[in-house]
Amino acid sequence: MLSVKYLTKNFDGLVAVKELSFDIREGEILAIIGPNGAGKSTVFNLMTGTLAPTSGKVFIHEENITGLKPYQIVKKGVARTFQTTSLFDQLRVIDNMLIAYKWRTRLGFWNTLFHTPAWKSQHDQAARNALETLDFLGLADKALAFIPTLSQEEQKRLAIGIALVCKPKLLLLDEPTGGLIQEETERIALFIKKVRDQGTTVCIIEHKMQMIMGMADRIVVLNYGQKIAEGTPDEIKTNQAVIEAYLGGDVHA
């Protein structure tokens, strides 16, 4: 459904991503792994328009989306989370969800000013959707809570929820369990599988090998911005280049 083609990103001198190509297939969980600084987050930023690529293209269902802005790309059905949990932390949980659902509605200035019938029905629909998603996240009872009162795991869940509430076709998760303990990680992993089973394709960046091996359908391994391997978890486990990269050996040796 989404293809990355020969993507390259230069940060004045530093090549963070180099000639990277891979596909995300409908209905799968694709994991992107690699050592620190391998360029994983940069790939997400290039896919979602946060950064402009130096060269290369991104396609979704054959449509070229390279160069679109983040708010345009989410409307193509690609939603994302950030590596450091990013929320609207001055607002309540429900407000976070409503904001993320807004682009699907026509709740603009005039409809809001006159409380038109369209405003009423869409407002209700947005609220219903937000509550349903909160229920799915297991945060229904926190709807009116302010963000700082949530636990770290709840905040991570909500961050995923913000991406999910607009019903994307593809969900990009950047280390959704970073900083969580084993037990919390397992709960989030189960949750991500549930998201996929509901029909959302998932692409996930992770460091936790055990979790990834048990969850991903396919894995893409990056090192120094380049793809060094791609395959099923079993193939990756036994891949020589991957083992060397993770043991700190020189890949090209």
């Binding site: 946060t50 708010y71 929320l87 609207f88 001055q90 993320a100 200035f109 000013l113 913000i162």
Partner: protein, 326 residues
């Protein structure tokens, strides 16, 4: 979306009643004039609150847009156009100018946006003082007609020559502004403004065109700044470059900060209480400024959400203590 508790509703009802009856107990015409001015300023500060408090964009050109409204009404009504046409027209012109300077100004962020808008404000002030044929230069424009009387069948007409009529006229516009701001702020549309203020990259990532959102907020704010300016011109009957000066912007800003940002009550409290306090402290002379300076610094440090924010904090604390007891 948030329903206010009963005692808050009662308080608002009481304030509305007190406002409606004000002409009965206001001590003297001078104080009455201060109150009328406060209500006009409250409209302008509510508008400033939308762009600064809710959207997080420090526009310091606010008085310039107040000035567009004031000069707009002054010029149009002196040319014989009805006040009731001139006022919305002047507010719309103010909004339109916002729509034109917004796109280049909003390319900048944070303090750069503040500087760019401040510079624009200063330019407008200079032009107002020098474009003699249109603005009357430093002397300004005198003899602006009072709001056109509203004819009422059989009874006669509502005229706006005395203070009570002017007061009710301004009060109606303040309530209208509050009503519209309330609709905006307590809606999903309004939440997008706060989203931009709170976390712009995330807002962008969840499908909000942050640039357009800021521009809409800026234009709405400038419409109401212009509206307030237009009312000012017709009530005072004269305008001079000082109505477009950055000094006035900073007055609005002080009302906003002391009253309370990002709340609807804050701007009204600030615009109302501070001029009145100023009058009451008349005896202190220039030492008043020292007093307000200290108050301002203390507020920014200890109560960043101003008076209304502090009251809310207190309210929440009491509620929490009650909950803990039961």
């Amino acid at each position: 979306m948030i329903t206010k508790p009963l005692h808050t509703k009662l308080l608002y009802g009481f304030i509305l009643l007190a406002a409606l009856l004000l002409p009965l107990y206001v001590p003297d015409p001078y104080m009455f004039q201060v109150v009328i001015m406060s209500l006009i300023f409250a409209i302008a500060v509510l508008a400033m609150n939308l762009i600064i408090g809710f959207t997080g964009q420090a526009s310091l050109a606010h008085a310039a847009f107040f000035g567009f409204g004031a000069y707009g009404v002054a010029i149009m009504t002196k040319a014989g156009i009805s006040f009731w046409l001139a006022l919305p027209a002047a507010a719309s012109i103010s909004a339109l100018i916002g729509l034109i300077i917004g796109p280049p100004a909003l390319r900048t962020r944070g303090s750069y946006f503040a500087i760019v808008t401040l510079a624009f404000g200063v330019i407008v002030w200079i032009v107002a003082g020098n474009w003699v044929q249109v603005t009357g230069g430093h002397n300004g424009i005198f003899g602006i007609p009072r709001p056109t009387p509203i004819p009422i069948p059989f009874i006669g007409a509502i005229e706006f020559f005395d203070q009570p009529a002017q007061y009710y006229l301004v009060l109606v516009f303040l309530l209208l502004t509050l009503f519209i701001m309330h609709r905006i702020v307590y809606s999903i549309f309004g939440l997008t403004f706060m989203a931009v203020r709170n976390n712009e990259p995330l807002a962008d990532a969840v499908g909000i065109n942050t640039f357009t959102t800021k521009l809409i907020s800026f234009v709405i704010a400038n419409f109401f700044a212009g509206l307030a300016g237009g009312l000012y011109a017709a009530i005072i009957g004269a305008v001079s470059p000082s109505v477009a000066a950055h000094l006035l912007t900073f007055n609005f800003l002080i009302f906003l900060i002391l009253g309370g940002m990002a709340s609807l009550a804050g701007p009204v409290v600030g615009a109302f209480a501070i001029p009145i306090l100023m009058e009451l402290l008349q005896d202190l002379g220039h030492f008043r400024m020292l007093f307000f300076g200290v108050l301002l610094v203390a507020t920014i440090i200890y109560f960043p959400r101003g008076f209304v924010g502090a009251v809310r904090q207190l309210n929440d604390k009491i509620a929490a203590r009650r909950q803990a007891k039961s």
